[in-house]
């Protein structure tokens, strides 16, 4: 689901285009030290692989489905620069040849789908690996977390772009809450798929996992991270999402001059004035009984995130239970 | 005595982890000859072939193509002289159209403009694929792709054409068409193959390789008729095929 033309105004699109082009150029040059000419066909092949993967949809909630972005996966498998290049090519080809994503929005889409995912995913991966024990299972777990974060980063990028130049001013807080909620869930899917694929590759050809090369990994047969690790990541993610909703959403929900009003307030929660859109049917994003619309959005966002995470964790736990159930013994 | 098209002297090679693969391989091929390389799986045939165009460098011994030693300085020219056709055409046809694929080789050696167009046309004509020149490779059948792969190499005007399992996976009609085309080419040929009738049909001389060593070198019909030799090297004649009944060309 890539941004079409006309959604974000020209100035923001152009700005994003400049950033994206710069980022891609830097990735190409940086990668040129590691990206010897042998990696040109390789990048093309992996791009085909990512494209093929992106065609798989998975259901995340009643009626909605997400698909893999692949930026974090590309970064862990090929390194951040190659990852950026590969996914960027996928996005470009999708826009030009498959009419997926507006041409004028190419910079925005590249920024969201390749630059933000690959770079933030890589950063998160390295940070995680720095604190985790150096084992194969950690690489898998770190990939999961990195992928989840990358999806969130991508959606935040979209929100920021919308805030800067979106058409039709939907309240940013609403957009933020909605995007964060849905993408937290999609991110879990991306995380699971990314982690599983990294585990699969580690099992057969560990030399192909760029992210693992930096560490002297103890050879271990155990490729999947333990329950504690997964729980840790989920909690971390939850905290990040909650923090975003509580602290950033109210800031964004006001008009530009309203920002000064927020700053002048005693705190973020509670204000006597209703915002202008108080009457509108914001039932989905507001909570009955809460006086201030701003508070309502925050609380609603919080509830949304919590529900999403409960669902996600429930799914994860169910998956664990299925896998740890002993296999039926073969007959005599 | 004319310069051999290919001269392999005492070639030995082992993988970085120490696994030995080729032992003192020694043979030469004269211009215009057609030689088949036979042997069981794992004998080292493909590894040997990758030495012929300097993708691998030997640990000991040498490779010389039409008088030019395959050392690091000569790598570029060696790759023009040894035209290697890989087993999987999909690995080898990597450009968006057939025409661009065939042009890729000579273009890397400085051929441009109308001369490049001529080379492409001649190469495609030699394999009978001129009418598909502007199609993408994945729209072609396997037999067609094999032939185009041969054209991509012919366009470089090599000294010797090296083919790795050219008839594998081809249906009988395509196999026959390819044999026809290879027959008509006026070029030195070195063919790795499991397809013993193919070897007999196209190559008057054969080498047998086993465990990284050359164990036999002689006329194909003689080798295929030597039951002991065949059995010792895991070479089996196809059901009902009697080499002594085949008339040499």
């Amino acid at each position: 689901m890539h941004i079409p033309d006309g959604f974000i105004n020209g100035a923001t699109s152009l700005g994003a285009g400049v950033v994206a082009a710069g980022g891609l150029g830097a990735a190409l040059r940086q990668g040129n030290r590691a990206l010897q000419d042998r990696q040109v066909p390789l990048a093309g092949l992996v791009a085909a692989f990512v494209f093929a993967l992106q065609m798989l949809n998975f259901p995340v909630a009643a009626g909605t489905s997400g698909h893999l972005l692949g930026g974090a996966l590309a970064a862990v498998l090929l390194g951040p620069w190659m990852g950026v290049v590969v996914v960027s090519v996928v996005v470009i080809v999708q826009a030009l040849l498959f009419a997926d994503g507006g041409i004028s929005a190419l910079g925005l889409n590249m920024l969201n789908i390749s630059l933000l995912t690959a770079l933030i995913g890589w950063g998160a991966f390295r940070l995680s690996m720095a604190v985790l024990p150096k084992r194969n299972a950690s690489v898998v777990g770190a990939s999961f977390g990195a992928a989840w974060l990358s999806v969130l980063a991508s959606s935040l990028g979209f929100v920021a772009e919308y805030a800067l130049g979106g058409t039709g001013q939907a309240p940013i807080g609403t957009v933020l809450g909605a995007m964060t909620g849905v993408h937290s869930l999609i991110g879990i899917g991306e995380g699971l798929i990314t982690g599983a694929i990294v585990a699969a590759v580690l099992g057969v050809r560990p030399d192909l996992v760029y992210g693992a090369k930096k560490y002297e990994l103890a050879a271990s047969r155990r490729l999947m991270p333990g329950r504690a690790a997964v729980g840790g990541f989920v909690t971390l993610g939850l905290m990040v999402a909650v923090g975003l909703v509580v602290f950033v959403a109210p800031l964004a929900n006001s008009n530009p001059d309203g920002l000064e009003r927020v700053a002048a307030d005693q705190g973020f929660i509670g204000t006597a004035e209703d915002s202008v859109s108080g009457d509108s049917p914001l039932a989905d994003y507001g909570v009955a009984g809460v006086k201030s619309d701003r508070t309502g959005t925050v609380v609603a966002g919080l509830i949304g995130v919590l529900v999403v995470f409960a669902a996600g964790t429930g799914i994860l736990l169910a998956a664990r239970r299925k896998r740890t159930r002993p296999a039926p013994r073969p007959g005599p | 005595m004319s310069v051999p098209a290919l001269e392999v002297r005492n070639l030995s090679f082992g993988y970085p982890d120490g696994t030995p693969v080729l032992h003192a391989v020694d043979f030469h091929v004269h211009p215009g000859e057609r030689v088949a390389l036979l042997g069981p799986n794992g004998a080292g045939k493909t590894t040997l072939v990758l030495h012929l165009n300097a993708i691998f460098q030997p640990s000991a011994g040498s490779v010389t193509v039409a008088g030019l030693p395959a050392t690091d300085e000569n790598v570029h020219e060696i790759r023009r002289r040894t035209g290697l056709v890989f087993q999987d055409p999909d690995d080898q046809l990597f450009m968006p159209t057939v025409r661009q694929d065939v042009a890729f080789g000579p273009a890397n050696f400085g051929v441009t403009g109308p001369e490049l167009d001529d080379r492409v046309r001649d190469a495609l004509q030699a394999v009978g694929m001129l009418d598909v020149a502007d199609r993408p490779p994945h729209h072609l059948s396997l037999g067609q792709r094999r032939r185009v792969a041969v054209a991509t190499v012919l366009a470089m005007q090599p000294e010797i054409l090296v083919l790795d399992e050219p008839s594998s996976n081809l249906d009988p009609a395509s196999r026959h068409e390819l044999a026809h085309i290879l027959e008509a080419l006026d070029i030195t040929m070195f063919m790795v193959t499991h397809d013993l009738p193919y070897a007999l049909e196209l190559c008057e001389r054969s080498l047998v390789m086993n465990n990284g060593r050359i164990v036999a070198d002689g006329p194909t019909s003689v080798i295929l008729g030597d039951r002991e030799l065949m059995r010792a090297n895991r070479l089996e004649l196809p059901y009902g095929f009697d080499p002594s009944l085949v008339q040499p060309h």
Partner: protein, 226 residues
């Protein structure tokens, strides 16, 4: 095509007439290309999430409000909805026209002519060339799985799916290495060689720039009039 899209995006939203002209232009292109309506409409479906967003905008938007059909909607939201629908639809239609009429190699050639970075077009070329191959392998893996009774529907059943995705990556990677070997075997030394000797005819440039020129003229006129 990029120019046409930029012109559409640049048009100020109040100028309904301008959009009418834009629509005629792209409609003309569709007609000339003889693209069947059903095909076009199916491809336009990709816009649906954004259409939904556009539809909801008037209800959720901030700012001044008016009454339409008895429902209170936001003016900004209405304008936003209109803009998104118009520009996005026109943009996607233009993309579809290009994607449906131009052969992939020609698109890549066009990019090359427009001086896009060589590396990117080269990688894109390989990607497009091997997409069919990779999809084919993926398809065969899926058939193999189904034949052994494995049909995952929910994400936690995806363990074997992920393992085969990993295998697909490895196969794609190894094929990438073999392609590199094949390139090297034909003399590749790091730079993609110049392959084509046919320069673009000036006639093509004129025809290519016709539609975008009109679109830009319209957009500029609308901007000046606003």
């Amino acid at each position: 095509m990029l120019l046409y899209v930029l012109a559409v995006v640049a048009t100020p939203r109040e100028a309904f007439w301008a959009f009418g002209v834009h629509a005629v232009l792209v409609g003309g292109a569709v007609a000339v290309a003889r693209i069947p309506a059903g095909f076009l409409l199916r491809r336009l479906l990709v816009l649906i999430p954004f259409v939904l967003f556009a539809v909801f905008l008037p209800f959720f938007g901030g700012g001044a409000r008016t009454d339409v059909l008895g429902l209170s909607v936001s003016v900004e939201g209405l304008w936003g909805a209109w803009t998104i629908l118009a520009k996005a639809t026109l943009g996607v239609t233009a993309s579809i026209v290009m994607a449906a009429t131009t052969e992939v190699p020609d698109i890549l050639l066009g990019l090359d002519r427009l001086r896009a970075p060589r590396l990117i077009t080269a990688i894109a070329g390989f990607m497009v060339r091997y997409l069919d191959v990779v999809l084919g392998e993926m398809h065969r893996m899926r058939i193999a799985m189904l034949s052994r009774g494995y049909d995952p529907r929910w994400i936690w059943q995806g363990r074997a799916l992920a393992t085969s995705a990993g295998a697909l990556f490895i196969r794609s990677y190894e094929r990438g290495e073999r392609v590199y070997q094949a390139m090297v075997a034909r003399g590749y030394e790091g730079q993609m060689p110049v392959l084509s000797s046919v320069p673009t005819r000036s006639g093509s440039w004129v025809r290519a720039l016709a539609i975008p020129s009109i679109a830009w003229a319209v957009a500029v006129a609308a901007m000046l009039a606003a």
